[in-house]
């Protein structure tokens, strides 16, 4: 019994000693980082812009506080030889300990992404337990990453949140972007037979204006950050930007499209009918029996008619059927164009190589060395599309058809 007491007091005393406490950090002593932007300057040093949250300005409803008076974030920039070096240098500019786990956005400058393989750049993020692997990765198109981070955003108090959420929404609604987390990127770039893609953002307007609080105090901000298609990588280096239907084609083949609109031609009326894809599923399969594998992309889309600018008799099942065929053709064409163009770029962002690997590992062993340059561009890719129109909204025939009848 007594010895138990000794043990217990031992524990308590040793604990009391420890109340100095390693690893302890008060929340009010931390600078919560919301986003990081990385560029490279002329000397080859890394430049890092760090967006720090001012909690008091972000969370409203507190006594005396309330957002709107001052920006919700502060951006500090620093340079250094390595990413960690920059990080340490940056701490000279701020009174608090820089705290990464809440950073949900990493922006990479276009120039940097073109010059350096991103994989090596991201090593410190991946290695360090302090970084969240779920942070989103985006490319700043045509502007330094730092600028993207500096621009204050309307609606959202945190600019990082703005980009993050924009990406999420636009992926869902438009299907021209995909959210790629740090972990996804590293996973993809390390996996055999697939090259990563990232979403890209551009800046519209002047950075200097965008930095000011006035930017968001007007109904139409001068400067705004917007999602703009995809960045295509080859061997972890940025090679090109896709936008519009091209970008969507990539997203589609990757089976990441959730909702999107396809414009269909209808009897000489170009882009007259909007076919909304509500659900789709895409699978890629490979036929490895031949020397050069053959790839088949199967798309099954399901959706509705959202808009008609030409007179169509939507209450007629045959018309619907015909529209389905048109949609299939349209989607097929778009996807084939995307594949063709990407084959010219010699980078397998669709993961066709991966499909081959998963199907037939022995075959892949023979092909893997020159996959991107030799085999991928020459692949025979077949696209099969099944499109279904399930409903046509609240009305059947467009008012146009009646109007026409009226005048005819």
């Amino acid at each position: 019994m007594k010895r138990k007491w000794i043990l217990f007091s031992t524990m308590m005393i040793s604990m009391a000693f420890l109340s100095g406490c390693w690893s302890k950090k008060e929340l009010s002593e931390l600078a919560l980082i919301s986003a990081v932007g990385i560029d490279r300057d002329e000397d080859g040093n890394y430049m890092k812009a760090i967006q720090i949250i001012n909690p008091g300005n972000v969370s409203s409803g507190l006594q005396g506080g309330g957002g709107g008076q001052a920006p919700g974030v502060t951006v500090i920039t620093a340079e250094g030889k390595s990413i960690v070096d920059v990080h340490i240098n940056a701490s000279a500019e701020i009174s608090r300990q820089l705290y990464h786990p809440h950073a949900n956005l990493i922006v990479i400058g276009e120039d940097l992404a073109r010059e350096q393989p991103l994989n090596t750049l991201l090593d410190s993020f991946d290695r360090n337990a302090e970084f969240r692997n779920t942070a989103q990765l985006v490319i700043a198109k045509k502007s330094p990453a730092a600028d993207l981070i500096k621009v204050l955003s309307p609606v959202e108090k945190l600019p990082s949140e703005k980009i993050y959420k924009t990406l999420d929404v636009t992926e869902k609604m438009r299907g021209e972007n995909i959210t790629v987390s740090l972990q996804d990127f590293i996973k993809t770039s390390a996996s055999p037979g697939i090259e990563p893609v990232l979403s890209s953002f551009t800046l519209e307007g002047d950075v200097k204006e965008g930095k000011k609080q006035e930017n968001i105090q007007q109904s139409q901000p001068e400067t705004i950050v917007k999602a703009d298609g995809l960045a295509i990588f080859k061997e972890d280096k940025l090679v090109d930007f896709y936008s519009g239907n091209m970008a969507r084609g990539v997203v589609w083949i990757l089976d990441r499209v959730k909702q999107t609109d396809v414009l269909l031609d209808w009897k000489k009326n170009k882009d007259a009918i909007t076919y909304s894809v509500i659900r789709q599923s895409t699978s890629v399969s490979a036929d490895t029996s031949k020397d050069l594998p053959e790839i088949t992309v199967n798309v099954k889309a399901e959706g509705m008619i959202r808009e008609t600018e030409a007179p169509v008799k939507l209450d007629d099942p045959n018309v619907i059927h015909e529209l389905e065929k048109t949609a299939e053709k349209e989607i097929k064409e778009q996807l084939e164009r995307t594949v063709k163009q990407t084959q010219n770029k010699k980078t397998d962002i669709f993961g066709f190589g991966q499909t081959v690997y998963r199907k037939d590992a022995d075959k892949w062993k023979k092909l893997r060395n020159n996959w991107n340059d030799d085999y991928f561009p020459n692949l025979k890719v077949k696209v099969n599309v099944d499109a279904f129109i399930r409903r046509t909204g609240l009305r059947t025939a467009p008012n146009l058809s009646e109007i026409k009848e009226k005048y005819e």
């Binding site: 043990l7 390693w22 590293i186 996973k187 991966q354 892949w364």
Partner: protein
């Protein structure tokens, strides 16, 4: 030996927790790539085989601790030497697990905290538990099992619901044929974690119903094999082989990638809870076994007296065992299975069993003659 009794069900739970212990947090059998889960299952089958050796020994002396009966089998002095070596083996393994957990904690959350302090807390808790006896540990295990089961079920559910799972990552299962899988199974998984069930030789005599030991043991190994296999499959499915291969703690990364409903995210505490529970049971069991064996061998009247000193030995050893984490892990993967696990888990027990078999056969004949 302590005068204690545990039920077969408690034995089952202790074995499962013990097997999961540190195995669930490391990239187990990742050398088999996508076939890791298969390698684990093969390892579990092999573990069952090893367990049968131990069980055969146990059948000869169902009421005695191995420290005693090994002397009956191979003679007093060699028996004592073997027992001493096994005590060393258990203490060493115990220290390894302590180190594993200390390193894990430092890596994921407590960068500035000294390893010594983190290990100390764990060892003190283990010592506290050991002083309470095996029965209390068994009962604690039952409660912790409920917690762990809840964690696993909900984590699997969240991973499945979160959409991060990509079955494609599991293909091709046998990209390079069956050979690497079998090789991994027989060079690694069979010993760690399944062969470590050897520690339960010291605990089996406590079981109320010795007849159930065999079934319980096999069932427990199989069950833990399936759990481990599904953990590795989930890891691979979420992260992909390459990332798992590069991760020290793939389960952490898997759990971190859960993001559901904008609220169920950052569930690191899940991982910590599961890891610490598993680690606690494993460390405590190893330490308990070494304390019990040492008390038996050196004829210490009160085994609980040994708990704290041996705890300190394990603590010190856990620091000394390696200069760096890579060294620690490399030794764990390359050297320990070859130089420690293989002789102690398979060769020695098999030899002892052989001797016991021959002796008993002779004795049986004598009995018939009479």
């Amino acid at each position: 030996m302590e005068k204690a009794r545990i039920s077969a069900f408690q034995l089952f739970i202790l074995i499962v927790l013990f097997e999961l212990g540190s195995a669930m947090i490391v990239p187990l059998a990742i050398e088999a790539k996508q076939g890791a889960w298969l390698a684990i299952l093969i390892g579990a089958a092999g573990g069952c085989g090893i367990f049968l050796i131990y069980y055969a020994l146990f059948r000869y002396y169902p009421d005695e601790s191995p420290v005693h009966f090994v002397r009956h089998i191979i003679g007093s002095v060699p028996g004592k030497i073997v027992a001493f070596l096994y005590i060393l083996y258990f203490l060493y393994l115990s220290a390894r697990v302590v180190r594993d957990f200390g390193e894990m904690l430092i890596t994921i959350a407590y960068v500035e905290t000294p390893l010594f302090v983190l290990n100390l807390l764990m060892v003190l808790l283990a010592v506290y538990t050991i002083r309470k006896g095996i029965e209390v540990l068994a009962r604690t295990g039952e409660l912790l099992f409920i917690v762990l089961a809840f964690l696993f079920l909900s984590a699997f559910l969240l991973i499945a619901a979160g959409g991060t799972l990509d079955y494609g990552n599991l293909k091709p299962v046998m990209g390079e044929g069956l050979a690497p899988i079998v090789k991994t199974a027989f060079t690694q998984t069979i010993y760690f974690p399944f062969g470590e069930i050897f520690a339960f030789m010291m605990i089996m005599p406590y079981v109320t119903d010795p007849k159930k030991v065999k079934r319980t043991g096999l069932l427990a190994i199989t069950a833990s094999g399936f759990v481990l296999a599904s953990i590795m499959a989930a890891n691979t499915g979420v992260l992909g082989v390459e990332l798992v291969n590069r991760s020290l703690f793939p389960l952490l990364a898997t759990i971190q990638s859960i993001e559901l409903a904008d609220f169920l995210e950052r569930l690191d505490v899940y991982f910590m809870l599961a890891a610490i529970i598993g680690g606690f049971v494993k460390i405590t069991l190893f330490l308990y076994v070494s304390v019990a064996a040492a008390a038996d061998l050196f004829k210490v009247k009160k085994p609980s007296q040994l708990a704290y000193p041996l705890g300190v030995v394990v603590l010190l050893l856990s620091i000394m065992i390696a200069g760096s984490l890579p060294e620690h892990i490399q030794e764990g993967i390359k050297l320990v299975p070859l130089y420690l696990h293989l002789p102690f888990q398979v060769i020695l027990p098999a030899l002892v069993l052989l001797v016991a078999f021959v002796r008993h056969k002779g004795r049986g004949k004598e009995g018939e003659a009479k």
